[in-house]
Each structure stands twice: as structure tokens, then as C-alpha cells.
Subunit: 261 residues, 2 copies
């Protein structure tokens, strides 16, 4: 029996976060993929598109790399050939309709692989984060499941994570504030990513950042943060010290008798 193709095994173990904020949205993704710990590569997991003055869209992906690359390629082909039988995300009248199209494309790619006889289950699965704004409506942020359905961020749940989400979640839960500046949001994401990178081999630099400012209707600040970025190094080394100081600032535990079992 032949071994599976490289592309079918390669997984974006990944960590991606999308923040929905008062002034817009901030996205961050890592670039590590692996098909086993001895087979590691760097792939971009974030794609952004704009029609200046009309709409702006950012998509991040976690899961099977062949699946997520196919989804992005299909979406881009359809953008470049408008008016074909499959409508493009540039033609959808709202972000909700964009999310439906992206979800349908994701389901289609997963099913076409599953139909080749491989056991579908998780092998070809992927999960997406999609954010953007269409002129005339507010910015919206969605998490899209492998089945093609999706949920939307709200005031109660103003951020989504996909991939290796647990290590970096506590700091987001504690420190994220939708009113914070874009700069503080990027700093917070770097702390969250640094905690994840320190704990898990399957997530690593470089990190991609994309800012979408409400009503700008064009892509905002974008950056790739590499391992030699001096600011990232400051955060990565400084956070350990800052955490220890935070820890020391809390009152001491006392072994008093009142709790003894």
C-alpha cells in the first residue's frame, strides 16, 4: 500500500487568533506546519484580500494543509474570474454571505478528498477564522467549522482561537479588552503566542499580523514577525520576569489549620 502523499499528511497544528475590537479587528497566525516532528515546514496560514473602498477580508486556517491551501486557491480563482458559475467572495453582498461561500468551499474540498476513499474523519479537516467588512455594514468575525457551518464573534465572545488554543488562552481571557489600542492588541497576541510557542513544538515563528480598521475598507497594518525581531525577543524574555513579579505581588499562602483535612 502506498504511503499517503506528503500534502495529505501535512497538518497546520497552528495557532491563530482573531480579535474583534471597538476600532476594528486584529489577526495573528503562526507559520509552522508538520507531517510528524521530523518533517517541519513554514507556510503562511493567513490570506487577505481587499477591494479598496468596497470590502476587506482576512482568512486564517488551521488543519490539513492541502485542504486549507485548496480553499484559498479556489477562493482566489473565483475572484479572478468573476461572473463564472461559482460566485466570488468579492461579489457577496455581506460578510455573512462571504462566510457562507467560504464555508461551502471548505466543505466541498473536504468532501472531495473524503470521496476518494480515504477515511474522512479528521484527516482532511480544517477550521477557519474569517473576518472582514463589506461597505455599508459593520465588520464581522466568524469561525468556520469543517462542516461548513460557522459562528460569529459577539460582545460576549469578542475573540476566536483555532489550532493549539489552550496554552495562550488564559492571558487572553484575563487581559483582552475590546477597547484597547491596536498596538496593545498586537502586544497581547505576542504574549499569547509566546506562551504557546514555549509550550508546544507545533507552533512557531514567524508570526503574521493583519489589522483591519473599521470603515477603512482597505487592509491596515500588516507585518511578519520573525525570530530575530527585537521587540518579540523583549516580550518573550520580559514576560517571564513580569509574570514572576505579578506572582510575587499576590499575598503569601499560609498553612493555617483552618483548612486541614
Amino acid at each position: 500500500m502506498a504511503l499517503p502523499e506528503h500534502g495529505s499528511r501535512e497538518r497546520e497544528m497552528t495557532y491563530c487568533v482573531g480579535l474583534k475590537m471597538a476600532r476594528g479587528m486584529v489577526f495573528m497566525s503562526d507559520t509552522r506546519t508538520n507531517a510528524g516532528v521530523d518533517n517541519i515546514s513554514t507556510f503562511r496560514k493567513m490570506a487577505s484580500w481587499e477591494q479598496p473602498g468596497e470590502r476587506v477580508i482576512t482568512l486564517m486556517t488551521a488543519g490539513n494543509l492541502a485542504t486549507t491551501q485548496s480553499v484559498v486557491s479556489l477562493l482566489e480563482e473565483r475572484m479572478k474570474a468573476p461572473g463564472e458559475r461559482s460566485p466570488s467572495v468579492f461579489e457577496a453582498p455581506s460578510m455573512f454571505q462571504v462566510a457562507r461561500m467560504v464555508g461551502a468551499t471548505l466543505r466541498e474540498v473536504i468532501q472531495s478528498n473524503a470521496n476518494t476513499g480515504a477515511r474522512a474523519d479528521s484527516t482532511f479537516n480544517a477550521t477557519l477564522l474569517l473576518g472582514g467588512q463589506v461597505k455599508g455594514s459593520a465588520p464581522r468575525l466568524f469561525m468556520i467549522y469543517p462542516e461548513g457551518n460557522f459562528i460569529e464573534a459577539s460582545d460576549d465572545t469578542p475573540f476566536f482561537q483555532i489550532g493549539e488554543t489552550k496554552y495562550g488562552r488564559p492571558i487572553l481571557v484575563r487581559a483582552f479588552d475590546p477597547e484597547m489600542s491596536f498596538e496593545d492588541a498586537i502586544k497581547l497576541l505576542l504574549v499569547s503566542f509566546d506562551s504557546t510557542i514555549k509550550a508546544n513544538l507545533s507552533v512557531d515563528l514567524p508570526l503574521d499580523v493583519q489589522v483591519i480598521e473599521t470603515d477603512a475598507l482597505r487592509l491596515g497594518y500588516a507585518a511578519r514577525i520573525t525570530a530575530d525581531d527585537s521587540y518579540f525577543q523583549t516580550i518573550s524574555s520580559g514576560w517571564g520576569e513580569a509574570l514572576k513579579m505579578a506572582f510575587d505581588s499576590l499575598p503569601k499562602f499560609r498553612m493555617d489549620d483552618s483548612r486541614e483535612t
Copy 2:
């Protein structure tokens, strides 16, 4: 077909940590078990035994509740009936031999369930943390796998976690120091558990704590920390503020052009 017994589904999603320190060991476990989110109970996941002046042992469990309770019951039966055909952990000449006995007991329980025809796989699995000291040797800390084999904590890896380990890991990685006091170790564990409890429904108070001091050869400080514990509440509410101050103490991110993609 009959539904599985309650006990066979009940899982300790659990969070347990064992710290190996210069002055001894500290253990903490939660008490939440569930057989689905609508079926939640409280069970102790920590058992401790002592023969004062001779040996002291603490065992923590994560996994199928029926399995872990059987393991503890079997170990206790054998302690109470010394000289029977199965030797007791009170008779083992070293902590290494105690770990082998506990591992063998765990494997035996899992296999006896698996042999009833149920698909073994993960259903009946459990993972254990075992620490203690036998007179004449140093204290030792082990993580025991469902297969009955085990690994030992060392200077490179001075703590083990089982169960829902990810949320609470970054603070341990950053702030644990084997030279710290028992009080600081308990405080650190409370921060780690609080981060986990805030993120995951399957871990919750009360928390059990056990300290084993090197060469004391008897059980040290033990406590049950409940939801109304005023110190825990101080840590739980204070940690959010302390984290925000730590975050603010780091330099600001600047959107300069050097990184733009």
C-alpha cells in the same frame, strides 16, 4: 443494548500537578468528574498513605473514575492484608518498586475491563502521578501510563501534570523554582489551577493539597481548598489584575515600517 454503567462513563477530566522540590514534594488535584456536562460530581482524586518513620506515598489519578477507584481500592486492600499473594506498596523496598506495583495494578484493572468485550482504547484508561519516599532513599516522583510503564521527574523536568494540563502550564514553566518554599509552591499551584478552572468546565474546586517534606517520612501539611476559601478568592481575583500590570510593564508595540510585509 444496555447503556454503559454510570461508573464506566464517568471520567475524571481532572487537573493534577506534582512538584518535585529541593525540600520535598507538593501535590494538588481538583475534584471534578463528569459523565457528560449534565452529569457532574465531586470525587477525591488524591490518596495518601504513611507508615510513620518508614515511608510516605501520595497518588493522584486522571482518567476513568471506575478504573482509578479500583486501583486505589486494590492498593488499600493489599496494605490491609499483608502477606497475601499480592505484595503491598508498604512492603516494596523502594519507590521504584512501589511505582512498578502501582503500574501493574493499573494495567491489570484496565485489562480486566477491556477483556469484558468493551473496546479498550481510551475508555477505561487512566494516568497516575505517584510520589513518595521510602526510608533510606531520596523522595521520587513518577508519572504512570495506562500501559503500566512510567517516567520519573528529574532536575530537567521537576514537575508532572496529568489531565487538562495546557491552560495551567505556561505559569508553571515560567515561575516554578525547585528552591521555592512550600507556601510559594502552593500559591503557584493555585494560580495554575485557577487559570485552568476559568478556562475549562471539567476542572473545578474543591482542590486537595498534600505536602511531603523530605526525610520527614510522614505526611505533611494537607488541605482541602473550597470555593469559599478567602485566600483562593484573593488569588483568583488578584491574578487578573496582577497579569494586567505585568502586561502593562512591558514596552509598547510600535507599528513601524521595518516589519511591514
